[in-house]
């Protein structure tokens, strides 16, 4: 053969072999009757509620599992023009902070309330990462009912994790920051002047009301995530830390130098004792505490100026450090409470610590050093064992209640199942792509429902029909009831989900509020019937006491309003029937609409900027005569001699 023929032959062989050389991709992942396992027939209900953080949309999503259907977007920290959250006069105080009204935040993590380490699903807690706050959502109404700001904190990422009876919800600061009177300091004085505060917010066992009970002044590390001890480790809390290098610039390099950072173990029962004994110090701070009142259908915001601080360098036996490789992200406790899993996102192994060994190490003073007098335990003394070659970039671990752990791997884009006792890797499944948090119904509790698992991913790429540069974040649902994890469903999500928690629908679905009894409405502007509908002027304030019921507003003809008046529409929805909200919108309003639930009163403030007749209408298709549900408001020049009049149904 001549040279030419050889080249052609070599080329053909190369072409033939090329596809065979490339390892098999992800496309082959679906097997068996996945569709029937996620099919929820029309009219049927999902088995689980999944409360999903919205990340940078500042909201929560309510998703049904196994269908993956989005049931609701629940406004928390961000304004929500579609229902007036943050625009109505009643809801504005909910978004008040020590910085004034803040219309947005970044909600990362969900905690569903528990009793005896099992979901009771009375409340969902969520964290605001940017302007540190914790919110409480009532799961009977799916409404945000309380928001408390966290002072001395910045980047409220290590939050809102809860103790097993929802005694406390915690807030560990990601950024350490200067506090108190010493805040105008140079950034390079980080080590001297910056503090990392951990906040314990108590939760009223009956009503859920939050109270900032105390803060622990910790070293200026970055606090990343946390989990409470449970069952046998009840009384302890575990916080992952990174940047124990205490760098203040180019952290991607400077905070990744040490082989080990720490899991900070906090004996909160001990801290409670110190608080009771009066060992805390009261510090000047400023933070907002906002509460929603279901009787008045409105919120009140209060500014509080003190916080109780505990100094663990002086008060012994509160804080211990467990060395953990390397820049740990998630720290998770297994259902028994015996094992603490640190997911070092840059580590090659997953360390599993033993609570029993930790207590023994403390007892025997098995320390390798200390940080300002707070003991650092010996790694080997606390270690149960290491999971070898689990994958790349471990982030978070959840549990199935059958002795297995499931760890998300960001870099290798997979979830790895392993046995907690033997540390043996049992199975791995790809995720699409780069999974962040994972969620198993009941997964962080003492009683996981090891049936499904959801991967919440950071990268979407080609998973759905493309929608330009900005894509929905993808999630995958897996069946984990068998030995092998099985991919069932791939669904797009709202916002940018981080953590999510799921619980059986039966816990709450029969106690949902359907409407608010009108006789219980204590809003000062509420109307109990159509007869009191009226308009009142008070200086340049005009108060419209309005009713809405299918299919009219009363009053619906209003005259005598002037340019520049502050007009308040107090709209009461008189319906006493499930799923009959009414909306209210007026032309040119610089705010949003109101969406008023049956029996509720909401107020929209509107300042007319010009002369004219302004239409208003119901925005929620309420009835066959919804398009007739409208009215007119006449605006005259300032000082015009048009009397204030109002009417409904008066034909000429």
């Amino acid at each position: 053969m001549n040279k030419h023929t050889w080249l052609v032959a070599a080329g053909l062989i190369a072409v033939a072999l090329a596809p065979g050389c490339k390892p098999k991709g992800a496309q082959s992942a679906i097997t068996g009757d996945a569709a029937s396992k996620v099919y929820v027939a029309p009219g049927e209900h999902d088995e689980f509620y999944n409360i999903v953080s919205g990340g940078f949309n500042g909201q929560m999503s309510v998703v049904g599992l196994p269908s993956g259907r989005v049931l609701k977007i629940l406004p928390v920290f961000s304004v929500h023009p579609e229902n007036g959250w943050g625009y109505s006069e009643e809801t504005k105080p909910m978004l008040n902070t020590s910085h004034g009204f803040v219309p947005w935040d970044d909600l990362h993590h969900i905690a569903i309330s528990t009793t005896n380490a099992e979901h009771d699903a009375r409340w969902a807690f969520g964290n605001a990462n940017n302007t540190p706050r914790i919110a409480r959502v009532d799961l009977n109404t799916f409404k945000t009912v309380e928001i408390i700001e966290i002072p001395n904190s910045a980047g409220n990422h290590s939050s809102p994790f809860i103790t097993q009876n929802t005694e406390y919800v915690v807030a560990g600061t990601r950024f350490s920051v200067p506090v108190g009177d010493n805040q105008d300091v140079s950034i390079d004085s980080y080590k001297e002047n910056f503090k990392g505060h951990i906040s314990f917010i108590s939760v009223d066992p009956e009503h859920g009301d939050m109270d900032l009970a105390f803060q622990i002044e910790a070293p200026p590390f970055n606090f990343d995530l946390a989990r409470a001890g449970k069952n046998k480790s009840h009384g302890w809390f575990f916080f992952s830390t990174y940047n124990t290098e205490m760098a203040h610039t180019l952290l991607e390099v400077n905070a990744s130098q040490k082989d080990k950072d720490f899991i900070m173990a906090v004996n909160w029962k001990k801290a409670e004792e110190y608080v009771k004994a009066g060992e805390g110090t009261t510090r000047k701070v400023k933070y907002a505490h906002n509460k929603w009142d279901e009787a008045t259908h409105s919120a009140k915001s209060e500014i509080i100026e003190e916080v109780l601080t505990l100094d663990p360098t002086v008060l012994k036996d509160i804080v211990y450090f467990i060395p953990c490789p390397k820049s740990p992200h998630g720290t998770d406790t297994d259902p028994t409470g015996e094992y603490i899993i640190g997911s070092g996102k840059l580590a090659a192994i997953i360390p599993v610590f033993s609570f029993t060994k930790m207590l023994a190490a403390i007892e025997n003073e098995d320390f390798e050093g200390d940080i300002n007098g707070m003991p650092v335990l010996k790694y080997e003394s606390v270690l149960h064992g290491e999971v070898e070659k689990p994958g790349l970039g471990p982030l978070h671990t959840e549990f199935d209640g059958k002795g297995n752990a499931y760890t998300s791997m960001f870099v290798s884009s997979e979830i790895v199942k392993w046995n907690i006792e033997t540390l043996e890797v049992l199975d791995r499944v790809p995720t699409y792509y780069s999974v962040g948090h994972l969620s198993i119904p009941g997964g962080p509790t003492g009683k996981p429902h090891g049936k499904y698992m959801v991967a919440y991913n950071k990268i979407t790429k080609d998973r759905y029909l493309p929608t330009g540069p900005e894509l929905a974040h993808s999630a995958q649902l897996y069946d984990i009831s068998g030995d092998k994890m099985q991919l069932l469903l791939d669904f797009p999500t709202i916002g940018e989900p981080h953590y999510a928690e799921a619980f059986p629908a039966s816990l709450i679905k029969d106690r949902q509020v359907k409407f608010y009894p009108i006789e219980g409405n204590e809003n000062p502007y509420a109307l109990k019937g159509i007869n009191d509908a009226r308009v009142e002027r008070n200086g340049n304030e005009v108060h419209v006491y309005m009713t809405s019921i299918r299919s009219n507003f009363r009053p619906d003809n209003i005259e005598g309003v002037h340019v520049g008046d502050e007009v308040y529409f107090h709209v009461t929805n008189l319906e006493q029937d499930w799923d009959v909200p009414h909306g209210f919108a007026i032309k040119g309003a610089n705010t949003a609409e109101l969406l008023i639930m049956p029996g509720e009163t909401s107020t929209l403030k509107w300042v007319p900027d010009r002369v004219g007749v302004f239409p208003f209408y119901c925005t929620d298709f309420c009835s066959a005569l919804h398009q007739e549900m409208q009215g007119y408001l006449r605006v005259s020049p300032k000082g015009a001699n048009v009397p204030l009049t109002f009417s409904t149904g008066e034909a000429e």
Partner: protein, 192 residues
């Protein structure tokens, strides 16, 4: 005059006392279902008041110009409790008298009472279903909305049901006992 056996007199007494629950339980019910109301709307009629989703039914019905259902619309609520009281008293008297005529007399009275209630319900239903507001938003030519007297009926998007409720069922059970008494009395006579 034929005298009744003690056991038949007891049956009359039970039938009379079976009217008493009419004071504590609903007598009649009207239910409505529509595509928008899969869970159904329900109105219960008691001896002197209404309960259930009356406001919602009024809200829905105002579109077709039906009258607002309210307690003031039923003068029966004022006097029904006395009529029923008299019926109970007469039943007790019939048992005490213990003659065949008193048994037949009480049964006739109860039957007439039942018929009167049905006629009354029909007349109310006729008026409620036919006497519509001429300014109603929705007017369907030749359509009337008289609810069914007993049983089911389709009215536009609604399926309506009307029928006796707990109190009436107990009362009818009492009336059935009167029939039992009559049959027993007849058989006894035949055997003699």
């Amino acid at each position: 005059m034929k005298t009744l056996s003690n056991s038949n007199r007891l049956l009359i007494l039970i039938a009379a006392l079976a009217i008493i629950p009419a004071y504590f339980t609903p007598l009649w019910q009207i239910s409505l279902w529509a595509p928008q109301y899969p869970e159904g709307l329900n109105m219960k009629i008691w001896i002197d008041h209404l309960s259930g989703n009356v406001d919602t039914i009024n809200g829905v019905n105002h579109y077709i110009g039906m009258k607002h259902i309210g307690e003031e619309m039923f003068p029966e609520f004022i006097y029904l409790k006395y009529i029923i009281g008299v019926l109970i008293a007469l039943g007790v008297v019939a048992a005490w008298v213990g003659k065949r005529w008193s048994l037949y007399g009480f049964l006739t009275l109860m039957t007439l009472f039942g018929l009167a209630i049905l006629v009354d319900m029909y007349l109310w239903g006729y008026d409620y279903g036919h006497n519509l507001d001429p300014k109603a938003a929705i007017k369907v030519p030749d359509m009337t909305y008289q609810p069914p007297l007993i049983g089911y009926k389709e009215l536009l998007n609604f399926l309506a049901y009307s029928g006796p409720d707990t109190g009436s069922w107990i009362l009818m059970g009492g009336v059935a006992l009167l029939f039992v008494a009559i049959i027993r009395d007849r058989l006894k006579n035949k055997n003699q």
